[in-house]
Amino acid sequence: MKTYHDIAGDGGSGILEQVAEQRARIADGLAGVRHLVAVGSGKGGVGKSTLTLHLAGALRARGLRIAILDADFNGPTQARMAGVQGALFVPGSRKVALPRTSNGIAVFSMGSLIPESGSLEFESEARRESHTWRATREFALLGEILGSFDWGTLDLLLFDLPPGAERTVQYADFLGARSSFVLVTIPSEVSRGVVARSVAALSKGPYRVLGYVENMSGYYCRDCDAIKPLFDPGGAASPCPPAHNALGRDLAGASAKAGRPPLLSELGVSCLGTVPFDPDLARLCDRGIPLGELADTPVGLAIDHVARQLLDSLESTPPTEPSR
């Protein structure tokens, strides 16, 4: 009796061919993109979206062509922060044009489509069983977005990932070995522990972790013109910098013995920089105003430093060869 692999095709639907067509459309859509960089963490509330937007702004200020895909479909924030809520999508001859910020960053965010009083809903005969199909559906949606919108020629396409260590890996699997990751943490052991899990999960695949950013590493006090501590310094991701990568992986065991999550540098992840919290930055984000006016403040300088480190890391680390 014949087995599955003895039979060509599936009798008529061509499911595998349809999946191949989807992948071809995505590859075509991303053909002009030099770098795919996903900004993730695993931990929620660490400032991934804010950092993504302002990192994009700092890269754009260096003359690079940048787009953001807000991959947090269920909690999109980029539309508001980038000032493209209610954006109009206009079809071109092949693809759909993307709205842009006033400083020229193309942005796709579900927040442009779904008002903040609404939620992303999928029609389903198995609505109360969404845990069985919802993630698959969302990735089909991501594929449609990548294949339908005009990403054009870009130096970097930044993905603002949703929280969850498992989601980080799922996006890595979806985007493939072309993608690189920047992980965001804050100076707390809880955050560091979750991000360490993301690092561990990503290390099982052919994925490139460019480094981590320690966000909210103190807050900027305008009255004092100084950075003051926001968290217990003991929770910091690592002594960052200097020599953040020189400690070696074997020290991860020392942290474990001490009952602490490993320092990210102990896991071989480089520090791209630290960024203080600035209440003015939060205000700009709420109102969809670009970072420009904070360019010379500690937070602006810190984000510019991260952008520079990111570019250096991208240029110095070749993409991982696909192992599949």
């Binding site: 349809q18 206009v90 092949r94 709205p99 109102r287």
Partner: protein, 164 residues
């Protein structure tokens, strides 16, 4: 998934797909050797998993027809949610785009706008979930310029106007 006619040791061919009924699909296969027919009846979870992959079950001709009409598009189910709600900007909030633009149901009896075949063909490039919002917004853009027809020039003007 493949089906094999065991007596003939021959792969069965897809014959037809019945419309979904309470979440179940009826997919009929037949053996090209002996003509034996069988039906695969999916439960709601199986139907949903296939839909979630963004693929369609059915002969190629049927798939192309449903693709043209937008049926089964992974975005289509989002349209009601998008049409039912809108928000007003907070005081001082920057709004380079008018959030009311393109939200159906907010204007009273707008003047109808025709679409040329070429413009309509471009509209089909938009994923179905964005299409109603984009269409309404473009029609409003055309009306504001005194046009009664959306053609490719109007679409190009809209792209330029929004800095795309």
């Amino acid at each position: 998934m493949k089906f094999l006619c065991v007596p003939c040791d021959s792969p069965m061919k897809l014959q037809s797909v019945g419309p979904p009924e309470r979440g179940s699909l009826s997919v009929v296969y037949s053996c090209p050797e002996c003509g034996y027919e069988m039906a695969m009846l999916t439960n709601a979870y199986e139907t949903q998993i296939v839909q979630s992959l963004g693929v369609r079950i059915g002969p190629q001709g049927d798939r192309e027809a449903s693709s043209t009409s937008g049926a089964g598009c992974p975005f289509s189910s989002m349209i009601p949610a998008m049409e039912s709600t809108s928000r007003a900007p907070a005081d001082g909030e920057k709004q380079p785009f008018d959030p009311a633009r393109g939200r159906p149901g907010e204007s009273s009896e707008p003047m109808p706008v025709r679409w040329t075949a070429a413009a309509e063909a471009r509209l089909a490039n938009i994923p179905e979930f964005v299409r109603p919002m984009a269409k309404t917004g473009i029609e409003k853009f055309a009306r504001e310029r005194g046009a009664v027809e959306v053609d490719e020039q109007i679409l190009d003007a809209a792209r330029e106007f929004f800095g795309m």
